[in-house]
């Protein structure tokens, strides 16, 4: 785009949101200009990231080292397929989410909107920076920045509940990353003398399986954003945030940053061979499976819509962690693909939850009987996204589950197929009742609300992302093609 070299484009993509944030901050007096700045930034960012897609698919790997912070720890960026995919997801959905945010925030007449948009832009910049990180250090930097920039968004409401949610959010994410992830990085740096992401892994070969397993544990739990139980609490707590935040950040950018990091670490730090030798990762397969099921079970018991979606996210994130732990070609591609598939589905679900809140001021599932008649588009989108999350055709989620299942069998973890099956059923059990009740049951007798759909600015994004779920079903091949180099590239 604009004749920029891929390297420049990459750096521009990282920097742009931060510039956008500054612009937004300066435009705080004029909401229209401020929102326009958000949208323009989002569109430009997406354009930049998309313009990288062609070169990267053609084999280019833009690579820039900026400055060496500590010897061996440069601040450096490099685009590889997985990162590109994550950046594509985050930046593309940001456009949609911005439109939605504008509709939501205005309909709600929320205070502190400038802070909201500024933090949002910074968070997106962090996500893109994280996606394009060339080494663990750069990744860690943006990882923390993402946590910090989203903290004000979580506590946006400013009431006691938001404060406590914010505390849990901050302590759990910062805590896990400082106490577990950072030591993991330090150990990695010490053992391999570098933190650069390298195909095939950087850990010295022949490392004792116990040590690899322990190191994996440091990473798996240290990456709190991946919400592996028991470090998942922050996610439901973060649901006190306004819905657009839950939608993009806590269903897409932040949590996907977590599982993306897990995948990245598995592929580029451990390397499949080191990871699988001696069954070092077996425990994580079991653990992720347990989280996957347990979170779904908890979701079943949650009667608050966003809380249920949050636990659903916890469960879905474990798919990716599971895929990473299985570490076969199919599962890694499937895990990467699941990032996309779940993103499209879950953002739609959150959009719907927000639309319901805006239009009907309802947050509890028990209040939603019959709402499908008043908000048919919203609930239809909810239905479509649910199907995608469950993994039903013709929506994207089906393919990632297929690949993860196939990978599990390749690695000899047949039980994982059973886990995936049970999980699908649990997904059905906690998502589809909402749809069924909304469309087919009469409203509760004490429900006399008269309302229609949410504002158009909320509705359009919902339709777009729901359509995306469908499109992704057919686009899965392209994603597969994009991610294929992850597992075919051998250390040269």
């Amino acid at each position: 785009m604009l004749g920029l070299s891929p390297e420049t484009t990459m750096l521009a993509a990282v920097v742009l949101p931060f510039i956008g944030a500054i612009a937004i901050a300066f435009l705080h007096r004029s909401p229209n200009l401020r929102e326009a700045a958000t949208l323009v930034t989002a569109v430009l960012l997406a354009a930049l990231v998309w313009s990288l897609a062609g070169p990267v698919m053609a084999g280019a790997r833009p690579d820039v080292a900026l400055i060496e912070v500590v010897p061996g720890l440069p601040l450096a960026f490099k685009v590889e397929p997985l990162g590109l995919m994550f950046a594509l997801v985050a930046s593309t959905l940001w456009i949609v989410n911005s439109i939605y945010s504008i509709g939501y925030m205005r309909a709600h007449d929320e205070p502190r909107q400038t802070t909201f948009y500024v933090c949002f832009a910074i968070a997106l910049g962090s996500a893109v920076g994280l996606a394009f990180s060339r080494n663990l250090f750069t990744l860690f930097l943006f990882y923390e920045l993402l946590t910090l920039s989203t903290y004000p968004l979580v506590t946006h409401n400013g009431d006691r509940k938001a404060l406590i949610g914010g505390r849990i959010y901050l302590m759990l994410l910062i805590g896990s990353s400082m106490v577990l992830l950072l030591p993991a990085i330090i150990v990695t740096a010490f053992l391999s003398g570098t933190t650069e992401f390298t195909a095939g892994g950087i850990l010295p070969k022949g490392l004792d399986a116990t040590i690899v397993g322990l190191l994996l544990a440091l990473y798996a739990f240290g990456i709190g954003k991946a919400a592996l139980m028991p470090l998942h609490f922050w996610l439901p707590s973060a649901m006190v945030a306004p819905t657009p935040v839950s939608a993009l950040l806590h269903a897409v950018a932040v949590v996907k940053a977590g599982v993306f990091t897990v995948l990245k670490v598995v592929i580029y730090v451990f390397g499949v061979e080191t990871l699988t030798a001696g069954g070092a990762r077996d425990w994580l397969v079991y653990f992720a499976s347990a989280t996957l099921i347990a979170a779904s079970l908890v979701a079943l018991t949650r009667q608050n819509l966003k809380a249920r979606l949050a636990y659903s996210t916890v469960s879905q994130l474990s798919y990716v962690v599971l895929a990473a732990a299985i570490a076969t070609s199919s599962s890694l591609i499937g895990g990467g693909m699941h990032i996309v598939m779940h993103a499209a589905g879950k953002i739609t679900l959150f959009f719907c939850a927000g639309a319901i809140y805006v239009a009907a001021h309802k947050t509890e599932i028990g209040e939603l009987d019959g709402i499908g008649r008043r908000m048919p588009v919203t609930m239809a989108a909810f239905f479509i996204a649910s199907l995608s999350i469950i993994g039903l055709p013709p929506f994207g989620g089906v393919w990632s589950k297929w690949l993860i299942g196939a990978g599990a069998l390749d690695a000899g973890f047949a039980f994982v197929v059973g886990v995936l099956m049970v999980s699908s059923l649990l997904n059905v059990a906690y998502l589809l009742p909402i749809v069924g009740r909304a469309f087919f049951l009469p409203p509760k007798p004490d429900d006399h609300d008269v309302h229609g759909e949410a504002p158009l600015a909320c509705l359009i994004p919902i339709v777009i992302t729901a359509t995306l779920c469908l499109v992704l079903f057919f686009a899965a091949g392209t994603i597969e093609e994009l991610l294929r180099p992850l597992v075919t590239a051998r250390p040269g």
């Binding site: 039903l392 055709p393 297929w402 390749d410 197929v417 059923l425 589809l432 069924g436 469309f439 091949g477």
Partner: protein, 562 residues
């Protein structure tokens, strides 16, 4: 025409337009879809078509051969009459769901590989639940939820089976598996659920009676027959199917007789008829497979007809319970007549069942399965009682309920007439059906021997009924819920789940409580030490500090000199 697109997909895509159309246009559009689908089917050559790749998986979306052609054809027909019947209501959601459901079933029939098959298989599960939910009651919602879980459960089991099969063989072809093929057990289990195998089929009588009147008609046509198709495709000649089929042919009959809800009664007899087909697949000879296909074909027609008739009764009276019905022939004569035709179609000469079921019996006899033959023969007599006699008798004769509803609406009558006509055509010109069977054959159903024995069966069964009525032993139905295999999950399982939930909650509460109090205690302890008044937090007197200085010095000196 439209390339090599599956006729099923035409219905599915066509459904998208339905919510945007109104009135006559919508009716016309919906009715046109199965016709377009049929034209598409007729225009396609035999063979593997519509090959494409999705997500790196090579797919054969359209396979036309004898078996799939026959099922596809009858499904399109069932879709047409189902849609026609459903024109009595104006609920676009139900219409669309019906189309997607029928389309998915048709698509699944033509699926040439396991993945395509799975995709459509799940499609039928999802779309069909809407036909149940559309009743709009809490009961229907709950039944729908159970139905959905079980149907999707079947889907995920199928998926697991496919994954294992693919992993072991690298093949995704949807052809005959032996039971010892990897993943085959799971695939059989998945099909078995949809086919309402013993213990796996409780969803059928549970869900069908909760659907809307028109919804049940569609439900009865597709899901189970799709499963029969899959069985015939993947497991012909699998011996275990014979006992399974026999149990299916017998046990549900007893339930059918006990049952008060006529739609549920039909669901049980449907299950019984499936038993015949499962046995036939289990026998697995060319004749048996053809018999299963023929039986499925005819069964779709007459079971739809029966469900339509009872649906009309339900629609007009608000109930389908035997204990609340009776004597409706006075004001619904056409429905009554069509219902009787539907009932007779199960066995009577001139109608469909007569020409189809005998294939299965003959196949059993030909291979010397004596007991199989005997039991099926008995079961067909029982089925005649439970279907052809009980249903019309309870609704239109029996004790007069005093209800005098209107005759069924025109679309319903039209749909029923079409079904009756189809049954008649097959009955009159069986060669039409025989020629279309997977293994085309010439078989003479109308031998004197066959006609007489079959009529004997019907007459003596009727005689038994008459005697029982005269003795006051029949009818005996009362409203109620019959305990079946679903007790395992609706009763036992549910209670178990509640117990687990309570236990988990208690455990969780105590864990949270423990952690909360422990962390509270920790903070309190830290505050007592580190707070402004604590040992560390308060300002020490200067003397204390001086003392510490001395202590430190002493310590260093000791360390240095010891």
């Amino acid at each position: 025409m439209i390339g090599e697109m599956s006729p099923g997909l035409i219905l599915v895509l066509g459904a998208v337009l339905v919510p945007f159309l109104k009135g006559q246009a919508r009716a016309a559009w919906m009715l046109a879809l199965p016709i377009i689908g049929l034209m598409q089917l007729l225009s396609l050559p035999m063979g593997d078509l519509g090959q494409t790749t999705l997500a790196g998986v090579p797919l054969t979306t359209m396979r036309v051969d004898g078996l799939s052609w026959l099922f596809g054809f009858v499904f399109l027909f069932a879709a047409f009459i189902g849609i026609l019947y459903n024109l009595y209501h104006d609920d676009p959601l139900q219409h669309a769901a019906g189309l997607v459901y029928a389309g998915s079933a048709i698509g699944a029939v033509f699926a040439g590989d396991l993945v395509t098959f799975f995709l459509y298989w799940e499609g039928t599960a999802i779309a069909s639940v809407f036909l149940i939910w559309a009743s709009g009651t809490e009961r229907a919602y709950r039944a729908g939820m159970r139905y959905l879980i079980i149907q999707i459960g079947s889907g995920v089991i199928l998926l697991a089976g496919i994954l294992i099969h693919h992993h072991a063989t690298g093949s995704l072809a949807f052809t005959k598996f032996g039971l010892d093929a990897p993943g085959a057990m799971l695939i059989l289990l998945a099909i078995g659920i949809k086919c309402a195998f013993p213990l796996l089929g409780s969803w059928l009588p549970d869900a069908y009676p909760q659907a809307t009147p028109g919804g049940t008609v569609l439900l009865s046509a597709f899901t189970t027959k799709l499963a029969i198709y899959a069985l015939a495709r993947a497991f012909p000649g699998t011996g275990i199917l014979i006992p399974i089929g026999l149990v299916m042919a017998v046990v549900p009959l007893i339930y059918a007789m006990m049952e008060n809800d006529l739609r549920r009664t039909l669901a049980y007899t449907l299950n019984n008829q499936l038993g015949f087909m499962v046995v036939a697949v289990g026998i697995g000879t060319e004749m048996a497979i053809s018999g299963a296909a023929a039986q499925a074909f005819v069964h779709v027609v007459y079971k739809s007809l029966l469900f339509m008739a009872i649906g009309a009764v339900l629609y007009r009276t608000g109930t389908a319970e035997a204990s609340a019905l009776g004597g409706l022939r006075a004001t619904m004569p056409l429905t009554a007549a069509l219902c009787i035709i539907g009932g007779l179609s199960i066995a009577s000469p001139l109608l469909g069942g007569f020409v189809a079921k005998s294939l299965i019996l003959s196949a059993a006899m030909k291979d010397g399965y004596f007991w199989v033959w005997l039991i099926l023969l008995g079961a067909s007599a029982g089925a005649f009682v439970a279907t052809a006699i009980k249903i019309p008798y309870a609704a239109f004769f029996a004790a007069d309920s005093g209800k005098r509803p209107e005759e069924a609406p025109k679309p319903m009558l039209a749909a029923m007439s079409l079904a009756a006509l189809a049954s008649l055509i097959v009955g009159l010109w069986p060669s039409l059906l025989y020629g279309a069977l997977p293994f085309p054959m010439t078989y003479d159903a109308y031998t004197l021997e066959h006609v007489v024995t079959q009529l004997q069966l019907m007459a003596f069964a009727t005689l038994a009924m008459v005697v029982m009525v005269a003795l006051g032993l029949y009818p005996f139905e009362r409203p109620g819920q019959l305990l079946g295999a679903d007790w395992l999950y609706r009763g036992l399982g549910y209670r178990l789940l509640r117990w687990i939930e309570a236990a988990a909650n208690a455990a969780w509460t105590s864990i949270v409580g423990g952690v909360t109090s422990a962390s509270g205690a920790t903070v309190a302890w830290a505050r007592s030490l580190h707070g402004p008044d604590g040992l560390f937090g308060r300002t020490w007197p200067t003397g204390t500090m001086a003392l510490w200085t001395t202590v430190m010095l002493g310590a260093y000196l000791i360390l240095a000199f010891v």
